[in-house]
Subunit: 328 residues, 2 copies
DNA sequence: TTGTAGGCGTTATCAA
DNA sequence: TTGATAACGCCTACAA
């Protein structure tokens, strides 16, 4: 592997001059620069990133801390994060959190710190992860994809509340007045936002709210909930906090003889690729996961570079009505 | 940030001794080691990975080259890769391939090489990606998750062929004799393997084979195929190369008035989480994606370390029969 | 068993 | 506009 000195020798300049060319230093004579660039391409020289990281103590690596495996939303966002990061010349080091204990989180962050990542994008949407991060002694810029709105400056949110509210209002507009919510786990920021949207929508319409059923995002839980709920007859619609649970729910209903949408309307959240193809096709709320990831990177980089943090409008969600919701 | 010399000073030894402790050098007096470890924990010292990478020209980073976004299988495998890599003290740098042109692949590999990754796990299962990699001038150990079996030493395969064959045989055992295959894209290794399993199963049973329908893995394509196939009446079962297409296919059939499994049996591949919950529930072939990732890492690390490459038995797939397949 | 000297490839600082 | 010199934090080699 050629080094900067090999380039310098070939170009007949000092290695320092090569460095200047590499870093777009302003004061350098065009013809010198040309010579250097020539030598670079002849030798197929590539700067050694480790050496650069050592001396600048900047790695040009962004860490991604995730706590979700194989799920459509987060993984789509990660793709967005990577694209945006690469575009800006950063590489991406991902780390999967097994547990979300404070200890595990601390270790993960320390590990990323060891790798000298310049900042971290967090996709571990539990409230407590957020708290742990804020309390960390390791100083490190970070952005949480699911940051609760209103948290000191670092706000980034697909408007989950508005989306959930739109879903609820859709059900209301169809004539439903007894609407249940199959919520996500208690500790999850997104679960809270979607529940809030649900509650807001109902309150605004002066309709009764029900205590939410707490799920775990999985289709299996949805199935279980469907079986259980089939015994109740005090509702005509369910808003599930994500599509997976909604699909499981419909399955549970089906097995219990409850027809969707004839007896009960169901709406989900996320618009995963199968939502349009299950039977009945699932009404849901679409969101642009990759864009969320891209925005997170822009915000993080602004923080790292000390620039003004860009203000994005809330990322729009989009209601997709399909067969699973019908008028009462 | 404390350096190795700060630790040395506090422990009253030379920085070299600290380095020895760090690297588990054999000849070091226990009490000296204790002193050093003490100083390390007092200062909360963490080795600078960039410095280490610079001098050893090993980064302890594994690159992951992927060409799939948000899909369940690959992303699950990536999780396995990360876990295994972290366990072995490696971090993971992921890079998403936009296009799979030779040029894009070359750039991606060069980028990872710049980052000094010690090896690459490739999740870009197109045949041509594999070829490009083999022909690269950049010397770099790599493992492809979907390596075609029999390719020089670096073999790693969930037994797609056997799984696809099991799926086909399941249909045959139910009394079907006219079985179509909804295949993946031409260039994909997995698509070829699954198609081969299909062909093998049919030939073994002396049943007619049909030219496969070439899909693109998406549910939308499956839907389209379902619509088209509903015009044909020369088959009673379809083996789809993945669950997403199978689910879309069932949707297409449904919309065209073809009943599954009454008129046509359908079986998929992958066992994605919703497969057990769609209507009808989808028979499919389960495979352990995370384990695939873990194995890839073990093989790659063996290559990197110059150890004997572990020989794994083919990763078993598991037939899951559900409602979408019924006897003729 | 421990310490000293040198260098990995780059950028920063200062001088020319 | 350019060049010489000194770090950055660590490891390898050799010496003690």
């Amino acid at each position: 592997m050629p080094s900067i000195r090999d380039v310098a020798r070939l170009a007949g300049v000092s290695h320092q001059t090569v460095s200047r060319v590499l870093n777009d230093h302003p004061s350098i004579r065009p013809e010198t620069k040309a010579k250097v660039l020539d030598a670079i391409s002849v030798l197929d020289y590539r700067p050694n990133l480790a050496a650069r990281a050592l001396v600048t103590s900047k790695s040009n690596i962004l860490g991604v801390l995730s706590a979700t495996i194989g799920e459509f939303g987060p993984t789509s966002s990660i793709a967005g994060i990577e694209d945006a990061a690469r575009e800006e010349g950063y590489s991406v080091s991902t780390l999967n959190l097994g547990a979300t204990t404070p200890e595990a989180i601390g270790n993960a962050v320390r590990q990323l710190a060891r790798e000298q990542v310049d900042g971290i994008v967090v996709l571990a949407p539990q409230v407590r992860v957020f708290h742990v991060l804020r309390g960390m002694t390791v100083e490190m810029p970070f952005v949480s994809l699911q940051t609760a709105s209103g948290s000191d400056g670092v706000t980034l949110s697909a408007d989950q509340v508005a989306g959930a509210r739109a879903a609820t209002e859709h059900l209301i507009s169809l004539g439903h007045s007894d609407i249940l919510h199959l919520a996500g786990p208690q500790d999850w920021i997104e679960a809270e936002s979607r529940m809030r949207g649900y509650l807001d929508g109902l309150r605004e319409a002066d309709l009764p709210t029900f205590p939410p059923i707490r799920g775990d995002w999985t289709a299996d839980f949805g199935y279980f909930a469907g079986q259980e709920l089939s015994r109740r007859r005090d509702f005509t619609a369910v808003f599930a906090a994500n599509d997976l649970m909604a699909i499981g729910l419909m399955h549970g209903f089906r097995d219990a003889g409850v027809r969707v949408p004839h007896d009960v309307s169901v709406i989900g959240f996320d618009d995963i690729p199968v939502a349009a193809h299950v039977a009945p096709t699932l009404s849901t709320v679409h969101q642009d996961f990759p864009e969320l990831g891209r925005r997170a990177v822009r915000i993080l980089l602004a923080q790292i570079r000390g620039e003004a943090v860009p203000e994005f409008g809330p990322l729009q969600t989009l209601l997709r009505t399909r067969e699973s919701t019908a008028s009462r």
